[in-house]
């Protein structure tokens, strides 16, 4: 075994240098050492491939789908065959686009359970065919066609959209192309927070706003006739949720809106 007298620069070089004297001092260790080192090399190669896969978006997507195929799709063929024939979700869920709050994780929704709409700050604007056809299409499809039984709007802690809304200057000037105009949907909720919790810190106000904007979204749902009709028929329930990933909690509340029949005066 040749001793390497060059300067060892890396920790692995140092470790190898520590191994060499042992191999030269003790007989019979060569083969065992070679086997162990070969095994280590193979393990490291695999790890490097995994890291490459994580860095390479195509590999990451491939790996992800293969994982799903092996552990779910191919494992439960009856379940997925039935799903392929049609979906009957019991929930329409509004959640933020934030990468940390997917309801499939947070509420463990399985394929087929929840029809989902995800946008900045999980907002539901009021009925508007010109400005908000995207959300309108989701609600129309879910309530009228899929006949979901529950609509759940989920807010969350440290929401960038909510923070943007809270930071909007009072004169209404916007500083970006879209974000400010979009989050202004929840201005009524901001007004409530500013009046009821004027002494709170910015962070606290944002937490209140996250919850109040969920309530505003629930109210905005009523502006869709199919939602009103389903509520009147007691075929639909509305709920608000708030996922606090700082403290690991989930708050859930029901929203009951009832328009009673008029009395004839």
């Amino acid at each position: 075994m040749q001793h390497n007298m060059d300067m060892a620069t890396s920790s692995s070089d140092v470790a190898i240098e520590g191994l060499r004297p042992l191999l030269s001092d003790k007989e019979g260790l060569d083969e065992i050492a070679a086997a162990k080192i070969e095994k280590l090399t193979a393990e490291l190669q695999e790890q490097e491939q995994e890291q490459d896969h994580e860095c390479d978006p195509v590999e990451r997507i491939k790996d992800g789908f293969i994982h799903f195929k092996i552990h779910h799709f191919d494992k439960y063929p009856d379940y997925y065959k039935q799903l392929a024939e049609g979906q009957h979700p019991k929930f329409l869920v509004f959640a933020c686009s934030d990468s940390r709050v997917s309801p499939s994780h947070v509420l463990n929704f399985k394929p087929g359970e929840a029809f989902m709409c995800r946008n900045i700050a999980n907002l539901v604007p009021a009925f508007n065919q010109l400005r908000y056809s995207g959300v309108g299409a989701v609600i129309e499809y879910a309530v009228k066609h899929l006949e979901v039984e529950n609509i759940l709007v989920i807010g969350h802690s440290r929401c960038g959209g909510i923070e943007a809304l809270m930071s909007l200057p009072a004169d209404g000037t916007t500083s970006n192309d879209f974000i400010d105009d979009w989050v202004k949907i929840a201005l009524p909720a901001k007004a409530k927070v500013e009046s009821e919790w004027s002494d709170a810190t910015f962070e606290q106000q944002c937490e209140y706003l996250g919850r109040e904007s969920v309530n505003l979204s629930l109210v905005n749902l009523l502006s869709y006739p199919y939602v009103q009709a389903a509520l009147a028929n007691k075929a639909l329930k509305l709920m608000g949720g708030y996922y606090d990933f700082v403290n690991g909690t989930f708050g859930l509340w029901k929203a009951d809106f009832d328009i009673k029949p008029p009395i004839i005066i």
């Binding site: 039935q82 995800r118 946008n119 499809y141 440290r158 974000i179 979009w182 709920m239």
Partner: protein
């Protein structure tokens, strides 16, 4: 028909019973008891609140509490490498089909996974999401994922030629991808309606990818090569997934 989490639990139990003898009789009795209890709850109406409580409980014990380092880091901020457009369809959540974990993918979900062109009046929702993802989160990839049996695409393909619509929103919305329908109707006249829909699902993804370039911040990032655009199609009938790249190359000015 059991969902996968139930099947997993059954498999674990069966494994235990095969490894340890003497548990058979007790297990059989308890399973009968559970069956009786479930039969009772089965006849009760679906309890949405219970479903949500149970769901969060499982997430908390199986993921949140088991990975405190990850969730501590995530609580401080997100830096997803992907922005994903997927359909609102309950069967195609990228958290399942691509196994995206918390923190990996910023997601927009709407009818038929559409990206409309830049329009501050009509499409502020999508615009806000793209603006946030590209300029603030600096995602490296945008993936638009279409899927089989898409109700939105079927709706698009079913709009009569004279353009009359019967819905408040759906048909207006899906006409974002009218160019895809025109292409399919011209090029694939011999295919069945269902086959045309499948082609339209994929062509609509390409229309959406093209629409992404109408956002100046997307175009800039794509040209600088800090952002890649990809299209995909998830076929849940056959259990397959296609992925393709959308490349944009602008040469420097050519000599006159």
């Amino acid at each position: 028909m059991a969902t996968d989490s139930c099947e997993d639990a059954i498999a674990e139990l069966q494994k235990l019973l095969s490894e340890k003898c003497g548990l058979e009789t007790v297990a059989a009795a308890k399973i009968k008891q559970i069956t009786a209890e479930l039969e009772k709850t089965g006849s009760e109406p679906f309890d949405a609140v219970e479903r949500i409580k149970t769901g969060f409980g499982r997430f908390k014990t199986e993921k949140y509490e088991k990975n405190p380092t990850l969730y501590d880091e995530l609580a401080k901020g997100q830096s997803p490498k992907f922005m994903v457009f997927a359909c609102s369809d309950s069967r195609v959540c990228p958290s399942h089909i691509l196994d995206f974990q918390p923190g990996e993918a910023f997601m927009v979900r709407n009818i038929a996974n559409m990206v409309p062109p830049y329009d501050q009046t009509k499409y502020s929702g999508v615009g806000a999401a793209i603006e946030y993802a590209v300029l603030h989160l600096k995602v490296e990839n945008i993936v638009v994922i279409g899927h089989s049996c898409c109700g939105g695409i079927k709706g698009l393909m079913s709009i009569p030629d004279d353009g009359t619509t019967a819905s408040d929103f759906i048909e207006q919305w899906v006409q974002i991808c009218l160019p895809a329908k025109s292409k399919v109707k011209t090029e694939y006249t011999d295919l069945t309606f269902a086959e045309q829909c499948t082609n339209c699902e994929k062509e609509a993804v390409n229309v959406s990818l093209g629409n992404l370039l109408t956002y100046p911040f997307v175009r800039e990032a794509v040209v600088k090569k800090t952002l890649a655009l990809k299209g995909a199609h998830y076929d849940f009938v056959n259990g397959s997934f296609e992925l393709w790249s959308f490349e944009v190359n602008l040469s420097p000015p050519l000599p006159a």
